[in-house]
Symmetry: C2
Subunit: 315 residues, 2 copies
């Protein structure tokens, strides 16, 4: 059902105004697959009804809003935009050490947009949802000038496994899960795989002391951990894994990489370093120091400079 | 901290661009009160961490997006707009028979908007949240041309008490909880009280067979119940409670009343009718019939006409 030649957003074909809001909801419902062992009632009532997990768990809730012209343009293609909207939220659940479960999607779209385009948006989400066992259980659709997508995602995590930003301690080592920089230029911001598997491996085996997903840029998100944990950090410029063509500056300040940034105690860091043949990348890039030492970058010649932590900010 | 003379949205005073995204989040966090017995971690991490309720319950999830120019104008005032955004979601939880618990809020705002204005938006939400024991546990804030608010709300309901749209049966009576029509003109769409108390009273004592909140208009929302339940209905025009100045047509087709529309078995309907001194209004307006009879309106002279059920639709 995608448009020929590409899946870009389009005002061709049947416009939404022809099928109406409820016609659209009906078509969307048909392409959504829910996990029936967890979902009592999905799309089509005032609220979704979801089973509460047994055992010693907490719920995680996150919400992300993506706007046309800010986070995406129509030219990126409806499927990839839908995928990104859900992927950002799954990444937040990963950063807490949890598993994503059920999503509700709010969508603002122009009545001139084609039905196929909106179905592609949902198809992009559904494909990723299927890969991560997420059920899309409900939503809201409104008419508006531009496309705005909000995904609110419910996840769960064992009480003993959840990770906040606030637990980093002096002597901990700082890690990232992959290459950083130039995400917007390379298209990674549309195709990244949320680091759920890495996060689950870590919380089950190594109990990170703090964790965050890198959405604002390494420097800025490190500063969030430092603020919450009341510590400083030393980063080694040469250790920061850079995406092809990315400078150290790009790796530090570009946003939307959606890798995990986490800290491990020294002993756990050594234990992790000894593991062989891991299917994941865990790259040590620095260590946690006293807050009074600030956040510093150490270059290949050992020269230390204060790291500017001003990251991407929306205002 | 409101603007003098009114609490209208404004670009006076300190613009958001001065305090930045994280300065704003910090200020918002301070005016939010969370229920610490339920919330492990609220605003300020990648996701909120919430305790899972004990007992025989389900979770309810709903999401609502409100856009400037569609659902509100700045002239309505930031506090009232914030209040409405949360109230719509609480109303959805009421329509399921549940209790609202934790909300995440996504907000698109112009950097030119004042900090006080955004704080007023949140204050409007927080005041209502406090009245309904809802914790605002997280959010997302982005810069955009206009104001867009998305509230995703988590609620809970006892397994035996949740009510879908699909349970209405022939012979059931149809009820509403209050006066209908002219909500936009009277301002009710900004000040309505979500019918949580009524819903909880009903599910504990009378087990409605179907329930919905009237957001699209009585005729349209009745049609939603009819579609889901595969039944028809007869409504008595004279029985429909009308807001001051509202015609029967207004009561049938105006949206945003946020009263509950529900059905009870005949015996429960009689039982409810016999109760005296109730603090709530439950007004019987018709009954459920076979699907083949359609949805009909019966006027004061007993004349029957097919009810047009086309309600408010966004496209």
């Amino acid at each position: 059902m995608t448009l020929k030649g590409n899946d870009h957003m389009s005002v061709h074909k049947i416009p939404l105004s022809k099928v109406g809001e409820f016609g659209l909801i009906d078509q969307i419902s048909r392409l959504i697959k829910i996990n029936k062992s967890q979902v009592i009632k999905g799309i089509g009532d005032d609220a979704a009804v979801v089973k509460i997990p047994r055992g010693d768990k907490y719920f995680l809730i996150t919400t992300d809003m993506l706007a046309e012209g800010v986070h995406f343009t129509k030219a990126m293609g409806a499927k990839r935009i839908g995928r990104k909207a859900l992927a950002c939220s799954i990444s937040d659940i990963a950063a807490m050490g949890g598993m994503p479960k059920a999503a509700v999607v709010s969508l603002a779209v122009s009545p001139r947009l084609s039905v196929d385009c909106v179905k592609d948006l949902y198809q992009g989400m559904q494909t990723l949802a299927g890969q991560f066992q997420v059920s899309i259980v409900g939503g809201d659709t409104i008419a508006y000038k531009e496309v705005i997508i909000n995904v609110a995602l419910l996840g769960e995590v064992e009480k003993k496994n959840f990770v906040l930003r606030s637990g980093a301690r002096k002597g901990d080592r700082v890690f990232v899960t992959g290459f950083l920089g130039r995400s917007l230029q390379t298209g990674k911001h549309l195709s990244f795989i949320p680091r759920i598997e890495e996060a689950r491996f870590l919380v089950k085996n190594f109990k990170p002391t703090a964790m965050i997903d890198i959405s604002d840029g390494l420097a800025g998100d490190l500063a969030h951990i430092m603020d919450s944990s009341r510590t400083g950090a030393h980063l080694y410029a040469e250790l920061i894994p850079r995406a092809p063509g990315a400078s150290v500056q790009d790796a530090l300040y570009d946003g939307e990489d959606f890798e995990l940034l986490f800290t491990l105690s020294e002993s756990n860091a050594y234990r992790l370093a000894r593991l062989k043949n891991l299917p994941f990348r865990f790259i040590c890039i620095g260590e946690i120091v006293d807050k009074k030492n600030g956040i510093k970058l150490i270059d290949r010649w050992g020269k230390t400079s204060l790291l500017k932590t001003k990251s991407f900010t929306h205002f």
